[in-house]
Amino acid sequence: MRMILGLDRPTSGTALVGGVPYHEIRYPLRTVGALLDARAVHPGRSCRAHLLALARGNGITRSRVEEVLETVGLAGVAGRRAGVLSLGMSQRLGIAAALLGDPDVLMFDEPVNGLDPDGVRWVRDLMRSLAEQGRTVFVSSHLMSEMQLTADHLVVIGKGRLIMDAPLAAVIAQSSLTAVVVRSPHAGDLSVRLRAAGIGVERVGENAIVATGAGIERIGDLAYEAGVRLHELSTREASLEQAYQELTASSVEYGVQRASV
């Protein structure tokens, strides 16, 4: 993200926003709004003055400053110094700065870190609504459950390398932990049949099996052909966290070994 914004120089390659390097954009805040570090504000400057300075540098009107303060719910404390704000309020100030130029691209680095549940929900809803308005919202996070609720498309990077670049649904579908749960009074017969078709089967109870490696339709068809009655046929989705761990198992930078005594 810092490279995209021209703050850090990449070892090799280039980062472009809409086809141009960031520093060639005439008024960058009107194209890309980014929140990297909510605390990166002079602690002695008021929220309003902070936003006003950013606005003046990018030809943004004063009324827009009041508008974004209103949007993020800081209008009441606009005159307060940034240093006395709570982490949640700082985060809101950072988001206000990102929204200031009404940009088409928004970047948020770990936007919900340190927020209370209400704050987390507010950020999630805001990001979804920005995306629904047709903007590109680029979020980085280590909170997989949060991303599962928020993201449409995933880019996974491990040890500085791209591991995955795919829609969220595809990432979850390809996980080995995504499976089909089948309950049937003839679970034993069905297991034999499914194994013969090359499908992984795990017996999880008297009448239940979990099948991996085939879609729900295929398993339903095979059961029908075998004349096996089914009491349940359902998909058990892997969580994003599980899928992520499978993907990155080999590229964890500072991993811990499972403790053994």
């Binding site: 960058p28 890309v32 990297l36 990166a40 002079h42 003055a49 990018n58």
Partner: protein, 265 residues
């Protein structure tokens, strides 16, 4: 085309400068310090004149004001430094560079805000100090030697403002290169006072020649001060003093720009 954007960046820097308390503290501190040290230095000179029985002697009050600048400058240099080092300390520099990714423009805008503000601060605080010093030292108690010649005082105050503007911009450049407040203040203090005094005190001819070209004595020469703290006169004209000052300022800014361009923010 880029002029308009530079103007807007200057607007942003202007807003930033006036929206923190340290600006007001530094400016007020500089003015108070200027009055007090000009009074003290002027009072000492007046007392000496009186003791020597100097009938008809005159004390141009802008002279102690200029001598006082050697101390007062640090309040203003600190303010100039803070315009950049406070951004590195808080991380705000990244927000600044997001808004103005062209780093040269950002530095230029800061310099173009700092220079006129410091010029004005020098002229105004020097003016106040001159007036107060004159009011006090023209009394009978101090022998009434103090004079306030309008033309000379005006020129002295303008030179004072220009000197402060130049050393402040130099400090801004050093700040951009060093990034930390402690490092910047150390380097600037050594340039403005530590090194020239140390070199002058060694007494060697080369060391003395070098020290006379450093910003401190170059500034005193430029401001037409005869009082160079070492007894001997500064061996060149005010114009040459200005040239040396501009050289030091350019060097500071160049160093800051070089680091700003190369290093990650």
């Amino acid at each position: 085309m880029a002029v308009k954007e530079l103007g807007q960046t200057i607007g942003a820097e202007w807003t930033k400068l006036w929206s923190v308390r340290s600006t007001w503290w530094c400016l007020t501190g500089a003015a108070v310090l200027m009055v007090l040290s000009a009074l003290t230095l002027g009072g000492a000179t007046a007392t000496e004149l009186r003791r020597a029985g100097g009938e008809g002697a005159r004390l141009v009050v802008s002279e102690p004001v200029i001598s006082a600048t050697s101390f007062v400058q640090f309040a203003l240099v600190t303010l100039a430094m803070l315009t950049i080092t406070s951004e590195y300390a808080s991380g705000g520099i990244r927000t600044t560079l997001q808004a103005t990714p062209i780093r040269g423009r950002m530095l230029a805008a800061k310099a173009l805000v700092v220079a006129p503000v410091m010029f004005a601060a020098g002229v105004v605080s020097g003016g106040i100090a001159s007036a107060v010093t004159y009011a006090v030292l023209s009394t009978r108690m101090f022998g009434g030697y103090a004079v306030l010649p309008p033309a000379e005082t005006t020129l002295d105050l303008l030179a004072l403002g220009a000197f402060l503007a130049l050393v402040s911009v130099m400090t801004l450049g050093v700040g951009a290169a060093m990034r930390s407040a402690a490092g910047t203040l150390t380097v600037v203090f050594m340039l403005l006072m530590g090194l020239p005094l140390m070199l002058a005190m060694t007494g060697g001819q080369v060391a003395l020649e070098v020290s006379m070209r450093m910003p401190m004595f170059a500034g005193l020469a430029f401001m037409g001060s005869t009082d160079n703290l070492t007894g001997g006169p500064i061996p060149y004209s005010p114009g040459e003093g200005l040239a040396w000052l501009i050289g030091w300022t350019a060097a500071g800014v160049a160093a800051g720009y070089a680091v700003l361009r190369r290093r990650d923010a």
